[in-house]
């Protein structure tokens, strides 16, 4: 493959086309993230910058909730790491498909928007990763994501409470849409998800005196480790 734009124009435009539905979904979800950003004390501009830099629904959500309670920088870093741990997995998966000789700056750009959706459409293409396809997707998805947060943060203060309340669940809807298909396909994931819901509920009682962030870290590590010990992947599983 030659890494020149002229040679990859068509695949670039294909990326733009595939990016449009992603962009629409992003705008709605990111809008609800903007409401949350404003509630956490961020300005609309800070929300825009945060979304442009992070491109991570769960990660930004976790980060904003840390900002809201003026948590420590270290705790914020750890919770961001945990909330975004799945990107580590996706990046590892994608690393197996990067062709030798791909320019380093292309890899740096792709890494910037390695989200569930961009990863999914990029990896679904046959053969090695063509950076230009991913660039096309990013070109439409990134502004939608960034400005969704911006407008959410502005409108969150103007919109009636009922509308804000309704938009607030968009993020959770997105989380559900990521969890459920995996749980349906894999009984072990299903069990771990149910265990997670139950333990998360139990440990949210005031009686335990632990913060939302710490709870997320501890439960994630323990439940995933138990899964890995008792239900290790067989060789060949999950080898995208």
């Amino acid at each position: 493959m030659e890494y020149k734009f002229g040679k990859n124009k068509n695949i670039f435009f294909l990326g733009i086309r595939d990016g449009i539905p992603i962009a629409l979904g992003y705008f709605a979800v990111s809008f609800s993230l903007g409401i949350m950003a404003a509630k956490s004390g961020l300005s609309a501009f800070q929300g825009l910058v945060a979304s442009f830099l992070n491109n991570a629904s769960a990660g930004e959500y976790a980060g904003f909730s840390m900002i809201a309670i003026s948590s420590s920088y270290i705790e914020t870093a750890v919770i961001t790491l945990i909330a975004n741990a799945r990107y580590l997995l996706m990046s590892i998966a994608m690393s197996q498909r990067i062709k030798k000789g791909t320019p380093l700056h292309h890899i740096f750009i792709i890494a910037h928007m390695l989200t569930d959706e961009v990863f999914a459409v990029s990896i679904a293409r046959p053969g090695d990763i063509n950076p230009y396809y991913t660039f096309g997707v990013m070109l439409v998805a990134s502004p939608a994501w960034s400005f969704g947060t911006f407008f959410g943060a502005i409108a969150g203060n103007i919109l009636p409470m009922r509308l804000v309340s309704a938009f607030s669940v968009a993020l959770y809807g997105m989380f559900i849409a990521i969890i459920v298909p995996a749980a349906k396909a894999d009984k072990i994931i299903l069990s771990l998800v149910i265990i997670s819901f139950v333990l998360s509920y139990i440990f949210s009682f005031d009686f335990f005196h632990i913060s939302e962030g710490i709870k997320t870290i501890i439960l994630t590590v323990i439940i995933s480790a138990i899964g890995a010990i008792f239900f290790p992947l067989k060789n060949g599983d999950n080898d995208e």
């Binding site: 629409l24 961001t80 890494a111 309340s165 969890i179 998360s200």
Partner: protein, 100 residues
């Protein structure tokens, strides 16, 4: 606490997670425990973050709970990310119209 520092920390951590494997890993991972652990982490962490937090995101716990349950059912029967998110929002809006 400076908000910009928070934003920069979030960015630095998130970007490193994404870029390091891409530039460092050139071979397939072998350790079964690490592979299995990494495989389960995303679903467990999203589950922990979703429930019971969704109950407190809305004005009434009832609407949060119903959108949680119906969102799961819709996703189970194949609704995509965008549809589930939209459905949850609509449910909360409609339910709270009646009870709030």
């Amino acid at each position: 606490m400076n908000k910009w520092i928070y934003i920069f920390i979030m960015f630095a951590v998130t970007y490193l997670i994404r870029v390091l494997p891409l530039i460092l890993i050139r071979k397939k991972l072998k350790n079964t425990f690490i592979r299995s652990f990494l495989y389960y982490v995303p679903y467990v962490t999203l589950s922990v973050m979703t429930f019971p937090a969704i109950l407190h995101a809305t004005m009434s716990q009832t609407s949060g709970l119903l959108s949680f349950i119906i969102g799961i059912i819709a996703a189970w029967y194949g609704a995509n990310l965008f549809k589930v998110a939209l459905l949850c929002c609509t449910l909360v809006f409609v339910i709270e119209y009646f009870i709030a």
